[in-house]
Symmetry: C2
Subunit: 252 residues, 2 copies
Amino acid sequence: MPGKLILIGCGPGSGDLLTLRAAKRIFDADLVLYDRLISEDVLEHAGPNTLCVYVGKGSGDGGVQQADINLRIYDALCAGLVVARLKSGDPMIFGRAAEELAIAEAVGACIEIVPGVTAALAAAADARIAVTERREIQHFIVTTGRSADDNNALDWESLAKPGTCIAFYMGVAQAWRIQSKLMAAGVPGDASADWIERAGQSSSRTVSTTVDQIARAVAEQQVSNPAILMVRYPLSLAEAPARAVRASLFAS
Amino acid sequence: MPGKLILIGCGPGSGDLLTLRAAKRIFDADLVLYDRLISEDVLEHAGPNTLCVYVGKGSGDGGVQQADINLRIYDALCAGLVVARLKSGDPMIFGRAAEELAIAEAVGACIEIVPGVTAALAAAADARIAVTERREIQHFIVTTGRSADDNNALDWESLAKPGTCIAFYMGVAQAWRIQSKLMAAGVPGDASADWIERAGQSSSRTVSTTVDQIARAVAEQQVSNPAILMVRYPLSLAEAPARAVRASLFAS
């Protein structure tokens, strides 16, 4: 009998943003695989028969490779174990879930996915930013602002429309690029932009700025990862210049 | 001393998608205000000194009005109480948080926001849909597909670009409109579209279809609220016709 693979969203780095369902699944698991973004508090939910194994991928420091993680999942599922694969945030947003789910499918194991609090919403809570707003923000967009593939460059014109709030994940290293692309696509320089470091954690910090100062804020305030950049371009901001023109016409 | 207002995201309708932090805040609160989308399991976390009050807005059935909720929050904060305002999903996505936060600011009360699992991510977990995917899905977009204001009609052309996954909240009643707008904006009829009813709950149901059958699926499968529509338009689907053309050229 093949085992069961559970992909578990553990929220963004703070142990108490774990859901009750996630805590229960961790307790019941035979094997827990976690990486470096998972808080130690999360592992405290492991049950007496749960083995917790660190599978953090290092950035060039000889950390565990995805192929090794895949093999470990494969072996455990074939042995009939319940494997809890912990993901920071939510497993379906930048979680690279597909590869690990394919293993479970290949061996005929059961699959369960436990959703989690994604970093952008923890950031919105910390910075008190409503990511949708009646009459102002129609769409909430989650992106990295990057393309894996030069042939499919990001369509910034579509992204940067009035009535949107955009959460950029992993944006610190390309702050200048995001700023210049947004402005070239027509986002006003005075639209609000907030960097939220360590969203959801007690040490969370918000650096509030505007689109024309996105990169400068990183340099001056030494914004570092993990951080979310939240850009808000409400409908009324797009109308503002037109309003100013109308006002000046009436004034003359 | 004015009290404290805590907006708490309770996740999408299943009590065990509550976070540990939310459960603790509910336990410690003096007053809990909840509406009809909040599961009864959630209220079981209330402490011995917590008063739970139902403030569900009815749709035309004489339910509590927002003005009454606001007044109740105002009175409780002025009396120095800790008020936990429960929101289904996450409070910053379609949570209409602004009005209630303004009351807390007006009386000088403390504010805390506890993020939650939003319905779209519970839907993605239930239907096993990765809302981002390397080389395929660059943006994840959350929207209602509606505009509050006829002067600011939704820009469907921008929404419906290759490389996006779109989660439509509250879409059942306008299934035909979403389908026709997406197709008019160039989304291929064979792009995948999944209706997920009661996301995150044990009674969750996924109806998998394609963009050209969005409305038909609602009629034939009697999809009803609460439901999320998840539309996936990967980059490779946009390339498919070009590939087909190239293939036919080589074949001839």
